[in-house]
């Protein structure tokens, strides 16, 4: 497989703004999430306070690789802070 075939672009939507991140399909999604948070200026909170959902609203396990998650080039992912349950 050519080197370029290992890389895809994911589009993270963070607070309504789009951030495109290129990532290796064999890397855990965490790596792309961290870059997206850094580029968007949201590095102030720990990674475990954020959650990633796909366009269908399904919660993604960020420890899994991009390939394992079945993400394709241009996939739109929603990265948001966990808002917790006040109760």
């Amino acid at each position: 497989m050519a080197e370029g075939e290992h890389k895809i672009t994911l589009v993270f939507i963070i607070n309504g703004e789009n951030f495109s991140v290129e990532t290796n399909i064999n890397a855990p999604l965490t790596a792309a999430v961290q870059r997206a948070l850094s580029e968007s200026g949201n590095s102030g909170r720990p990674l475990n306070e954020w959650e990633v959902r796909n366009s269908a609203g399904a919660l993604l396990d960020v420890t899994r690789t991009v390939k394992e998650l079945g993400l394709t080039n241009g996939a739109r992912l929603f990265l948001s802070l966990r808002v917790g349950a006040g109760g």
């Binding site: 939507i13 963070i14 607070n15 309504g16 703004e17 949201n42 102030g44 909170r45 959902r53 366009s55 269908a56 609203g57 399904a58 919660l59 929603f78 948001s80 802070l81 808002v83 917790g84 349950a85 006040g86 109760g87």
Partner: protein, 208 residues
């Protein structure tokens, strides 16, 4: 008003712009900005997603264990919960979080808790607490108990969880998406028939 009116208006306009930019995303979730939107309010219509479910009994037969009836739920696709209007008030935003109240989509009357939808935050198997609560100690209205909502941060029980800790990482778009998730996407209305009455319960299920 604590925030300079020009600053507040600029921030309000910014939030509107972000919602408009993500209009396709919002509309794919049947969230619509209404024409009643006017500073400092933003009105959004939320349309229910899941049909009402009714219980039925099925029998599972095992080779050794006697048949045990279990309750399963079946969709009634012709019935669903009611659409509702979420009115966000951005007065003093973003020094204060947006305030949120719930209104009837047809009459604009404030919704009353006993007959409202329910919202639940899925935390794990068997753990999905209610986050739409009946009576806020200050407003005495139903309120959404989630970070990002003024009524949460200004509730006496959450005095240590200030909005200012989150305002850099939460905005109205993300708050709207959270509201949609706990009140529309993850909850299923289910009818529960009892002796002389019928109850509506709201089951929560995470999407994985």
């Amino acid at each position: 008003m604590q925030v300079d009116p020009e600053v507040n208006r600029a921030k309000y306009d910014r939030e509107i712009s972000l919602l408009v930019e993500q209009q396709t995303t919002l509309e794919s979730r049947l969230i619509f900005m209404l024409s009643s939107t006017a500073y400092p309010h933003i009105d959004l219509l939320f349309v229910p997603r899941h049909p009402v479910q009714i219980p039925g009994l099925t029998t599972q037969v095992g080779s050794i264990i006697l048949a045990q009836p279990t309750v399963t739920f079946t969709d009634l696709p012709m019935f669903a919960g009611r659409a509702f209007k979420a009115r966000f008030d951005l007065t003093d935003y973003d020094l204060r979080a947006p305030s949120l109240e719930f209104r009837d989509a047809w009459t604009d009357a404030e919704l009353q808790y006993p007959t409202m939808f329910r919202a639940r935050q899925f935390e794990g198997p068997g753990r999905a607490p209610d986050v739409l609560l009946a009576d806020h100690p200050t407003t005495h209205k139903p309120f959404l108990c989630l970070r990002g909502i003024r009524e949460y941060h200004e509730h006496p029980q959450h005095s240590g969880d200030e909005w200012l800790l989150y305002r850099e990482t939460l905005n109205l778009f993300s708050i709207v998406m959270s509201l949609w998730r706990v009140s529309v996407d993850l909850v299923h209305p289910q009818l529960n028939f009892q002796m002389n009455r019928m109850q509506v319960q709201w089951a929560a299920e995470e999407k994985l």
